[in-house]
């Protein structure tokens, strides 16, 4: 059982990275990024392709991470330019369209056959209390935690955070006030793309999957973001880890394992029933 929990921590840490990234983008850019996982999958697969061609692990991983960051920045700039004044439903619809397109591009380049992604530092695992903890698990949890701390600090106490929030709420006014719109947008989107690729490389080395199965890690990631109510970074972190661990534990019995795919849904359901128990209105006035 403990082995399962620890195994779940690696996946959970990655879900947490995606979930926290989604919350960050929602707060800073006003968009729900349905492509968070698929953007990370680009990086993981690109790294795997380079590694397959004889690159060393670290340069390959760095190139993959850079690719994800570039794709993420491109999406962010497109949204900032085209949809900055659009209402929520239109932004969400456009984000879904972008996600569909990214999946198609991914299939084109990487095909949808499973591909093994190199294991990070295969020798660097420790046995703690009879349970093997891999370096990947530790890295992904640290990256998740660092993301929460860094972004929490940026959002609440820095000028950049204030500027980015201003861009998301009143882009025209922010621009008139001299906020460097494009630089700030690129910064936020680039950072979330980068950490997502790190999370994805760790997950993919643990459970080799097809490009689409990696892209579909958006489901547990969305459950994590929902637990954070798209506002709280730390709750999204806890939520991601929780989803990962519950998924892993659900494989404990074969009768439960069948319902493993429903874990994000069930958790999201419970969270929504709780958070939506009071009447909430669509506009402040």
């Amino acid at each position: 059982m403990l082995t399962l929990v620890v195994a779940g921590l690696a996946a959970g840490g990655a879900y947490a990275i995606f979930g926290v990234s989604i919350v960050v983008l929602h707060r800073m850019a006003g968009v729900v990024n349905f492509s968070q996982a698929v953007v990370g999958a680009f990086g993981a697969y690109f790294a795997a392709v380079l590694y397959g061609r004889g690159w060393d692990f670290l340069p390959a991983a760095a190139a993959g991470v850079a690719l994800s960051a570039v794709i993420s920045v491109a999406i962010g700039l497109m949204f900032a330019r085209v949809f900055s004044e659009a209402d929520g439903a239109i932004r969400t619809g456009a984000m879904i369209a972008v996600t569909v397109g990214l999946f198609a591009v991914g299939f084109r380049f990487f095909s949808d056959t499973p591909r093994s992604v190199p294991v990070i530092f295969p020798s660097a695992s420790r046995t703690v209390g009879g349970v093997v903890v891999t370096a990947g698990t530790v890295i992904v949890l640290l990256v998740a935690l660092a993301t929460v701390l860094l972004m929490g600090w940026v959002l609440s106490s820095t000028r950049v955070g204030t500027q980015v929030r201003a861009i998301s709420e009143l882009p025209v006014v922010a621009e008139l006030l001299g906020v460097p719109l494009f630089a700030r947008t690129a910064l936020v989107w680039g950072f979330t793309g980068l950490v997502s690729a790190v999370g994805m490389i760790v997950v993919a080395s643990n459970l080799p999957g097809s490009f689409s199965s990696l892209g579909f890690l958006i489901f547990p990631a969305m459950a994590a973001a929902l637990i954070g109510a798209f506002r709280s970074l730390s709750l999204a972190l806890v939520g991601g880890v929780l989803v990962g661990v519950v998924e892993a534990v659900s494989s404990y019995r074969s009768t439960w394992a069948e319902y493993r795919g429903a874990v994000p849904f069930l958790i999201a359901l419970v969270v929504l029933l709780w958070t939506q128990r009071h009447e909430v209105w669509d506009a402040a006035r």
């Binding site: 729900v32 349905f34 497109m78 085209v82 949809f83 659009a86 929520g88 439903a89 239109i90 969400t92 619809g93 456009a94 879904i96 369209a97 972008v98 996600t99 569909v100 397109g101 990214l102 999946f103 198609a104 591009v105 299939f107 084109r108 689409s212 579909f216 958006i218 489901f219 969305m222 459950a223 973001a225 929902l226 798209f230 069948e258 319902y259 493993r260 795919g261 429903a262 994000p264 849904f265 069930l266 999201a268 359901l269 929504l272 029933l273 939506q276 009447e279 909430v280 209105w281 669509d282 506009a283 006035r285």
Partner: protein, 577 residues
């Protein structure tokens, strides 16, 4: 619905263009069935089926304004149901169809209950996670009949390829007509209302939750029918057709083509199936088709809502005939004699006692009490930020007061939600003007009156509104504001809260509107709480005026008394010191 109700719904009446479009659809279907080869028939049949699912996206997104990412899961449930019935029972295919719609309908209600209060974002996320769970837990085990090789067969009369094509064309036509009829009905018009504003919908006494739920369940049922057709086309289906990414793709193409209109859904179906085929004819890989939809979807959305079909309709109506100018010339006709006439009463109708609300350190309202007598106007004035609109929100139930009570006609309504207050006879209007653009004047007033109000035509002439058949979208901002006030009045409320009804009106229009308002209390016995910046209007309508400043009542009395009160002058102009 009574026949007379259709009189003002002319945009929905069967018009010549509708008949021509239907005839064209039928003729095209028959011509294709008679001439196309089996390959093309198969392709076009699957296009029609995709169009059925696109219609379901149109209902949930274009009508009710909700983003659902599980439409292909509902289609899969329809297919699953048909496969199961085919395996376990000897029901004919036609008899399975109602079940294929009912199962997703029921699931839609079940899933909808937690999603009830979700909007835009949360609903999209929740339905996405739901579709993943269905795909992995239900569909991944295979569809009934898959292992057994038990094929679903279409009914005998439609067993040939042209026959099944025509069957699917008829099914799509039926679904399209049913959706048009639904949009005409009150249920469908509430969908448009909730899309425009949930608050305004609740303020008219309608449950927002029920409205969204009905749209969600109806769209689930339509998608389920699509799934039932798909399984008959292929005989056996696999989980691959019903993955979350398929739901996302169909949403994208529905957004691109504007599935809220029938032709948009049809185009979404046609292009969804034909583009991959054209690509392979051109020697290009088929899998770039989703990229085309993605780019098209983003481009369509960057132009605003409605997609290609809305753009086409706008183009056709511009080419077709000169734009109708709404008729504002209706002279103030004498009011019909059938109107209820009540004398001014003396009892307190709306009694607001000691309410207070604070936002953090800011006391928005501080121990405010006021009473509006039956059949009278009370004006509330005060500088910007005085708490006037907060007062309206508390009395109508959108904001909770930390203390005090709101009494309507002797009943304490303090703990009731907005829709229940509205049903008890408390109506309000909104400063922003929240009338749904997709309805006609009459269609909106009919919803607002909820069946027991004044006749629509009578209300239209009372407030000198444009004819009931005029689309709300064709009204200027001022007329929309009058329409919203008229909507609040038409239900014969016991009390009505008007939040700056005269703002944005000028000259003749303003005078005529104030004259119409002046008759509200005497005619219906309504107690009117009037929030207004226009002091002339307050002076001419109200017996009593109350001045709010920084959340407190600083003066009360006749309008001329309070306007000469030095505290009031200071609140407006600043104190000379």
């Amino acid at each position: 619905m009574r026949r007379a109700d259709f009189a003002w719904s002319a945009p929905f009446r069967i018009r010549r263009t509708d008949l021509a479009a239907s005839a064209l659809y039928v003729a095209a279907a028959i011509a294709i069935a008679g001439s196309a080869n089996p390959f093309w028939l198969f392709l076009l049949t699957s296009a029609l089926i995709t169009a059925v699912v696109a219609v379901s996206v149109g209902v949930i997104y274009d009508n009710a304004g909700l983003l659902s990412l599980c439409q292909m899961s509902f289609a899969g449930m329809g297919a699953w149901t048909v496969g199961w019935l085919n395996l376990k029972t000897s029901l004919p295919y036609l008899a399975m169809l109602p079940f294929a719609a009912l199962v997703p309908f029921a699931v839609g209600i079940l899933v909808g209950v937690p999603a009830l209060r979700l909007r835009g974002l949360n609903l999209a996320v929740f339905t996405l996670v739901f579709s993943a769970a269905v795909a992995r837990v239900v569909f991944a085990d295979g569809f009934p009949g898959l292992i057994e090789g038990n094929r679903v067969r279409p009914p005998g009369f439609a067993s040939s390829e042209p026959g099944f094509f025509l069957f699917c064309a008829a099914a799509l036509g039926f679904v399209g007509l049913a959706v048009v009829a639904l949009r005409r009905s009150r249920t469908g018009r509430w969908w448009f209302s909730v899309r425009r504003s949930e608050r305004a919908t609740a303020a008219m006494g309608r449950s927002v939750v029920r409205t969204k739920l009905s749209a969600f369940a109806v769209s689930a049922a339509i998608a389920g029918l699509g799934g039932a057709l798909l399984v008959a086309l292929h005989g056996i289906v696999s989980a691959a057709s019903f993955q979350p990414i398929e739901s996302m793709t169909i949403l994208t193409s529905a957004l691109m083509f504007g599935a809220g209109h029938f032709e948009g859904a049809l185009l979404a179906g046609l292009f969804g199936r034909l583009i991959p085929n054209f690509l392979s004819d051109l020697g290009l890989p088929q899998d770039i088709a989703p990229m085309i939809f993605a780019v098209g979807g983003v481009l369509a959305l960057s132009q605003g809502e409605g997609g290609l079909s809305a753009a086409l309709r706008a183009l056709i109506s511009r080419l077709g005939r000169p734009r109708e100018t709404p008729d504002h010339s209706t002279a103030a006709s004498p009011l019909p004699a059938c109107r209820l006439s009540r004398l001014r009463g003396d009892g307190p109708m709306l009694d607001i006692q000691n309410i207070a609300v604070s936002y953090g350190a800011v006391q928005a309202l501080d121990d405010v009490s006021l009473t509006v007598t039956e059949g009278r106007f009370v004006g509330v004035i005060g500088p910007n930020g005085a708490g006037k609109s907060t007062l309206v929100d508390i009395v109508s139930g959108f904001l909770a007061s930390s203390q005090g009570r709101v009494i309507l006609d002797g009943m304490d309504i303090s703990s009731l939600p907005p829709r229940k207050r509205a049903r008890m006879g408390m109506r309000r209007t909104f400063q922003q003007g929240l009338t749904p653009r997709d309805l006609t004047v009459g269609g909106y007033l009919d919803l607002a009156g909820s069946g027991s109000g004044l006749p629509v035509e009578e209300a239209v002439s009372w407030f000198s509104l444009p004819p009931a058949t005029t689309p709300v979208a064709a009204l200027d901002v001022g007329s929309r504001r009058i329409l919203e006030v008229c909507g609040a009045i038409i239900s014969r409320p016991k009390a009505v809260l008007l939040d700056e009804p005269v703002a944005g009106l000028a000259g003749h229009e303003r005078e005529r509107f104030v004259d119409a308002l002046a008759e509200v209390p005497t005619t219906l016995g309504t107690a009117v709480l009037l929030i207004e910046h226009d002091l002339d209007v307050v002076a001419s309508l109200c017996d009593t005026a109350i001045v709010l400043d920084f959340g407190r009542v600083i003066a009360a009395g006749t309008p001329s008394e309070v306007l000469s009160n030095p505290d009031v002058v200071a609140a407006y102009l600043g104190r000379a010191s």
